[in-house]
Assembly symmetry: C2
Homo-oligomer: 339 residues x 2
Amino acid sequence: MLTIVVDAMGGDNAPACVVEGAVEALRESANRFELLLIGQEDKVTPLLQQHDLGSLNLRFVHAPEVITMEDVPAIAVKSKQESSLVKGLKLCKAKEADAFVSAGNTGAMMAASLFVLGRLPGVLRPTIYAYFPRLGEGLTNIVDVGANVDCKPENLVQFAEMLTIYQRYAASIDNPTVGLLNIGEEEGKGPEYLKQTWNLLKEAAGENKINFIGNVEGHDILAGKATIVVCDGLVGNTILKFGESIPHFLGALYKPALEKLVVSGQLDQAAAALAGKAFKEIFEPFDVEKFGGVPFLGVDGISIVGHGRSSSRAIKNMIYMAEHMIEQRVNERIAAMLS
Amino acid sequence: MLTIVVDAMGGDNAPACVVEGAVEALRESANRFELLLIGQEDKVTPLLQQHDLGSLNLRFVHAPEVITMEDVPAIAVKSKQESSLVKGLKLCKAKEADAFVSAGNTGAMMAASLFVLGRLPGVLRPTIYAYFPRLGEGLTNIVDVGANVDCKPENLVQFAEMLTIYQRYAASIDNPTVGLLNIGEEEGKGPEYLKQTWNLLKEAAGENKINFIGNVEGHDILAGKATIVVCDGLVGNTILKFGESIPHFLGALYKPALEKLVVSGQLDQAAAALAGKAFKEIFEPFDVEKFGGVPFLGVDGISIVGHGRSSSRAIKNMIYMAEHMIEQRVNERIAAMLS
């Protein structure tokens, strides 16, 4: 039976949301795996006592320290060795568990995962991706979104290869297309390192490692031209944060526009409320907290990070993601392709 | 009196829209400047004949060739020396005119401007910016948006300096703030070239050349944290194209959402239509074609490019922009700061 460590202290709504998500996952899956809930005893055990623990495949592990959202990742990982985050990953390293999930400090998760778990054989730099909604079915997956800057062509190619394996086996996308984010569609466009990357991606496609469709541009992300969009972490991180800011920005424009229609008597209050609600709902595909998290690709173990605002549903989904990644032997496949 | 060359053949709605915009500018300004309308005689003169030319300070200049939106910039500029675009810029170079405006092929405009006009003293690489709507007053101006990739720190600093002068004198922004687009706010974040850029921007701020406020992130663009956001052309171009794709993407989600409310009887058709119209209107700040164009900063002359979809209003505004740039001696000020 698989054992998954869940960081009870990770996320804005921790530990309550995490406890709830873990309990839900076990109930829904009929105890298909074992969960180790790790965190501060005085905070977590009162919450656990509200549940019928005898019926759940769940153990509590005490970790006295907590890495917060405000902690500087590199410093926190070194100085807080007794945190749920570092201690939880160490359980994986010691083979006492198979995976770790947390909605905590992303930077610290990344630093600790790399530090504690190390890299898979052949991997130059582990990476993290993010998904975007798109027209039609499916999602656009952008890699890297901030774990790596100053990327070299060989790094970008590995990102494409690792995410291809993840999409193929963990997300069941048959033959995910890979696009290289650039300033123009044509071959030979853009900065030097992207020209070299283009050549290496073409080679990898020749070896049937990836399904490379060439350069894509900024407008192709929401249009859904490629399943995987490869770029340096600076570009990916900027797009990610820009995208996350859109609902608030447009809401701040649309709300007064509807109110104006109500004040002028053109729209009644109920209709405006309905239109406003429907407007909010179109942004739900942007709402990462609903879906779960993303794995660090390339580390020698399974480490899944969720958004700080993760709901209990997101925590539950992250647990299922971990289970699925193990079952699909994603890491073995990555090591096999890259080494 | 100033003489401004207007490319009659530039833009999707050329030459009709361009003729209209030029005539409007002269009527509205009471012939404050002279316009040279340049283009193919058989296409343009029939349109001109519809106006009372005797009352307008307008001359027509024949240019037999046209650079289209499909032309490859570097090739077209060399092979189509008799195009309105190249010939118009040459009139500026020969001091027969003071500025050139076009809604044509941006890449070709950029290549031809650099080729024909050359660079201002001290300018390493001319640049082009784009404006974004933001919460509150004003706009966020991103530089560079595709003219330059593989940017070096000294290029980025010059972009900030040139756009600061433009914003200060041509856009009347008192002391425009400059942010460096990065993956985090803190000093020392991001790729090597941005760390070096940070230091150089700090120096430039110490000399009172710019008003540097530090790093900004993707979500700060629409939030309006800085008036000027500096980045490599790959990042800026990606954000620009991503931003332009948002209205279509969200419209494709919101339209069916409203229709569903109509079908289910929750919203009447008229209310849905009003809500849909208000929704479309919130994207108008994104709609560059309404406002005009942007100048190439750093070339030894005045060259203003508009969106391919430019309306006659946009053409008119570009003519005013050119006039204002000359009057405010923007290029002299750039040369003085950079040399």
